[in-house]
Amino acid sequence: MRFQDAAKDARAVVYAGIQADPLVARAAALLADATVAQRVLARAVMNGETTDPDAWRTTFPTLFGPDADPAQRERSEAILVASLEVADRGEQVRSQVRGALVEEITAQLLRRRSGPLVKRERRILFDGVPAEIHPYDVTVERPGGSAALDCKWGARGINADVLHQLDDARAHAADESQSLTVALVVYDAARSCKVRLARQTAPHAKTGLISLETLERLSG
């Protein structure tokens, strides 16, 4: 098993521009250490129609109301501002930004324990096996214990193709007596992810799931 950078095709070049947007890194840094309620705020605003910040403050009284934790209020405000900036990008661009955001949160959290071993947009090659067309969003390339993660904004993004790709990689690594942990990171509630997974016939019993509520597990 070996890792290599994905080919720089046109799609990759365009998407790299999205990934490099400073807004993505800023929002990811805020959300990596956010509470679950703050993450739901970001999800709602980035999915939403309303661009009036006061309307969102009304929607989240536990974050912005008089009884809100003052220590968290500043972060909630910063998350609201960043989320509105994403929502303001228009439907197509915001969809790309949201995807890049989940990848960046994942990478930032993983780097806390694995530092430079964390890579983006990588392919995994196995002897005698054709390479997958789509690269893995985030990998941890540690001799004796690597990982490959696919990142989704919502549970609906979970599909047969991604489940097959992850499980195939895990199985091919095992064939080479290598350890490769595979997982989905989904910026959505575990309940929704489980409903989606329950409908999937593609193999996923050995694929991990990190949801909006459990992102901290990536760093610990």
């Binding site: 679950v36 309620a37 739901v40 705020l41 999800r43 709602a44 999915n47 939403g48 129609e49 309303t50 309307a55 009304t58 929607t59 989240f60 009284p61 536990t62 974050l63 109301g65 008089p66 009884d67 919502g154 549970a155 609906r156 959505d188 509630a189 575990a190 309940r191 929704s192 489980k194 409903v195 989606r196 329950a198 409908r199 909006l212 509520e213």
Partner: protein
Amino acid sequence: MSDEATVGDVIERALGAYEVLLAKGEAIEDEWSYVNDLATAWRDRLGAVTAARGAEAAAPGVSAAVDRACEEIGLIADPHRAIDWLSTFPQVVLVALGEKL
């Protein structure tokens, strides 16, 4: 709505708006089963909150928060975005109520 509403009142209003959202999401035929399973899962979760806290007075701001969230999903016209909100909206309601997802 005033903040004299109970938790059960608030959830009842949320579920009413959720039904309208569900109808929008069902327009994607390939996802019909998924969206209905999703709605069932989240209705069950909100129903469990009603069973546990339905008679309790909603905390200040909760009623207005849920009404605002209902207004937000009323703005959604695209069925694909409606499916996103079938997951997001119950999370927003639960956060407003101080509940875990």
